[in-house]
């Protein structure tokens, strides 16, 4: 029993790390533009595919050190792709309506997904692992080196982001623009620069998550972004959208909820609710969170801006 719980905790931390990395991209973009960047999940997929292509080109499939290089290049490439998406599809629509950029984002998601399909093919591809192999046995729970690496990479990236946002000049600018773009521009901060930076970092982190995810499961398909993206977005809302620590907390929390619910629901309901309802747990959590605590766990106060009306019903 103890070993089982420990095992599930490890699994939850692995999945949670990936959700958290993706959720950061959603939350940062939303924090500044109040936009759900639907293209983000497709950039995650594109990241995994670029990682695969690089592994072939550089001949580093299966080497953890090569993986670092691949991860770095993919981060930059997808980061630049994210910046271009913002400039082409979102920037011209700023200030029109809230619906237009959202649908433009959906259009971009379709474009990126199909571009990935055209280049990578329709069939699932076998993914070479960039992660070290091997296992440790801890009190009967089996922890793979892959899981440890994923967790460490995620934690290091998140710590770096936290330092960047809170301790550097550029980070201050980003926070200023997120707070209030107009006021920030009065004190000489170019909001476009900050927004571009966000669209570089967010998708870059998502791309690394894509490589980790595909390395872990050993496959990459061009459609894998949608469900993962939805869950990562759930994680972002769970933690409080717009909040960076919230996205991290939400990611890990969702990892735990999903892993434990999937494992225990069939037992508790006598097999009535099976593991096939895995995806429903995430969505149900989302619905419940939005209904009872729309600002999320670490979100800021409930205001008009967060689109919640208090006196209804």
């Amino acid at each position: 029993m103890g070993a089982l719980i420990l095992q599930q905790t490890i699994n939850a931390l692995t999945v949670g790390s990936i959700y958290a990395l993706i959720a950061l991209g959603y939350t940062m973009v939303y924090g500044v533009l109040r936009l759900i960047n639907f293209a983000h999940s497709e950039l995650f997929t594109a990241g995994a595919f670029i990682g695969l292509a690089l592994a072939g080109a550089l001949g580093v499939a299966g080497h953890p050190t090569g993986g670092l290089l691949v991860g770095f290049i993919t981060f930059v490439v997808i980061g630049l792709a994210g910046v271009s998406v913002e400039i082409v599809a979102y920037r011209p629509l700023r200030g029109t309506s809230r619906l237009a950029p959202m649908l433009s984002a959906l259009g971009m998601a379709v474009v990126i997904q199909n571009a990935v399909m055209l280049i990578g093919g329709r069939r699932p591809l076998i993914y070479p692992s960039f992660l070290p192999s091997g296992v440790i046995d801890v009190f009967g729970a089996i922890i793979t080196y892959k899981q440890i690496t994923i967790f460490l990479v995620a934690v290091i990236l998140m710590a770096a982001l936290e330092l960047f946002v809170n301790r550097t000049n550029l980070g201050v600018r980003i926070r200023a623009v997120a707070e209030n773009a107009e006021t920030a521009s009065l004190v000489g901060i170019n909001p476009n620069m900050a927004i571009s930076l966000i669209f570089f970092i967010g998708p870059g982190l998502g791309a690394v998550a894509g490589i980790l995810y595909s390395s872990f499961y050993g496959v990459a398909t061009f459609t894998m972004g949608f469900v993962i993206g939805m869950k990562a977005f759930t994680a972002a809302i769970l933690g409080g959208i717009g909040s960076i620590p919230g996205a991290v907390l939400g990611g890990f929390l969702l990892g735990f909820i999903e892993t434990f619910a999937t494992a225990w629901m069939p037992v508790l309901t006598g097999g009535l609710i099976g593991t096939e309802y895995r995806d429903i747990f995430a969505f149900s959590v989302l619905v419940l969170i939005l209904l009872f605590r729309p600002a999320g766990l670490l979100g800021e106060h409930v205001s008009e801006e967060t689109m919640v009306y208090k006196s209804d019903f």
Binding site: M102, L103, L106, G107, N114, L286, V287, V308
Partner: protein, 337 residues
């Protein structure tokens, strides 16, 4: 954005205005469809049927998105409820064979009830949150249909659905459905247009523009939004029943997030809150992939690009909100506008 109060105060000059030119213009489209439609070859006729179906869906969704200003990304759930109503109540699945007209009512009502049940908790949310919750609802319905094997047959779907009979008239070929869909479109169009012009429509646009101000004017915003949700879901459910009767096969495949998205795009590309916009949008969005069929694998890529370009060029849609049927009636009827 137009001022809702202004629209409510226009009618007094109507006496000096003739109604028939506008009415004729509005009637021209369905009459033309009924004359030309049946002579079309099977393939274009089927596309025409799909355009009409999506136009009706667009008109339905417009009540929530266009009039009330609430983004619903899970509209396909109501469509699915309607489709599965026909599939379960008129097939060998449980050996129930109810008549089409009855199931049309049942399916639409079930969808309407689902709309209200979803609406009660969800309508406290606005904007993006509402969009995400409705998206989640759509996915939950789809996953349920995928997994409730005993009821819905899971991913295999339900085949060998009954042929539909409506008052002794058999609906089997695409031109039978053309007549049905044109009739439905006419009814839904009139209904949606009259809603827009009614006190409810005015209340909805007040809610859309400023909810607090609307409440300040004594509008029960919650009830108004619930009614919009129910009407919208009802129309979606009716479309689902017709869809299932047309395909005579349903599976969860047909009710993905992508479908919801297409319906939202129909009204956004055509022009939010404008019944004509839904017609134009449906025509474009169904025709475009067919025209791009020659590009095979590149089809969706171009489709996505076209969407982004249309939205960038016309963020408020191809036909602006004010150029709706009422505008046409005024325009053609003479007198002061």
């Amino acid at each position: 954005m137009e001022n809702p109060a202004r629209r409510a105060s226009t009618p007094p000059t109507a006496a000096t205005r003739k109604l028939w030119p506008g009415a004729l213009a509005l009637l021209a489209v369905p009459v033309l469809l009924l004359i030309v439609g049946p002579h079309l070859p099977a393939y274009p006729l089927r596309i025409l049927d799909m355009i009409l179906l999506y136009a009706i869906l667009g008109l339905g969704l417009n009540i929530i998105v266009g009039y009330a200003g609430l983004l619903d990304l899970g509209y396909v759930a109501f469509y699915a409820i309607g489709a599965y109503s026909w599939a379960l109540l008129a097939s060998g699945q449980f050996d129930i064979h109810l008549p089409f007209a009855l199931v049309l009512l049942i399916g639409a009502s079930l969808a309407g009830i689902a709309g209200i049940l979803l609406g009660i908790p969800v309508l406290r949310l606005r904007g993006d949150y509402l969009a995400i919750v409705t998206l989640g609802f759509g996915e939950i319905i789809r996953v349920l249909m995928n997994n409730l094997d005993g009821v819905t047959n899971g991913p295999q779907g339900i085949a060998r659905i009954d042929e539909a009979h409506l008052f002794g008239w058999t609906l089997s070929t695409p031109d039978d459905f053309l007549y049905l869909l044109v009739a439905m479109l006419a009814v839904v169009f009139l209904f949606v247009w009259r809603i827009q012009e009614s006190a409810l429509g005015t209340a909805l646009s007040a809610v859309r523009e400023d909810q607090d101000a609307a409440r300040g004017c004594g509008i029960n915003t919650t009830r108004v939004k619930l009614v919009a949700f129910a009407f919208s879901a009802f129309i979606g459910g009716a479309c689902g029943v017709v869809f299932a009767a047309m395909q005579r096969f349903v599976s969860p495949e047909s009710f993905t997030f992508w479908e919801s998205l297409v319906i939202v795009l129909v009204i956004v590309v055509g022009g939010l809150g404008n019944p004509f916009g839904a017609l134009l949008g449906a025509t474009l969005l169904i025709l475009l992939p067919e025209l791009l069929r020659a590009y095979a694998d590149y089809r969706l890529l171009f489709y996505g690009m076209a969407l982004v370009i249309i939205i960038l060029a016309r963020p408020r849609g191809l036909i602006a909100r004010q150029f709706g049927p009422s505008w046409l009636m005024r325009r053609l009827g003479g007198g002061k506008c």
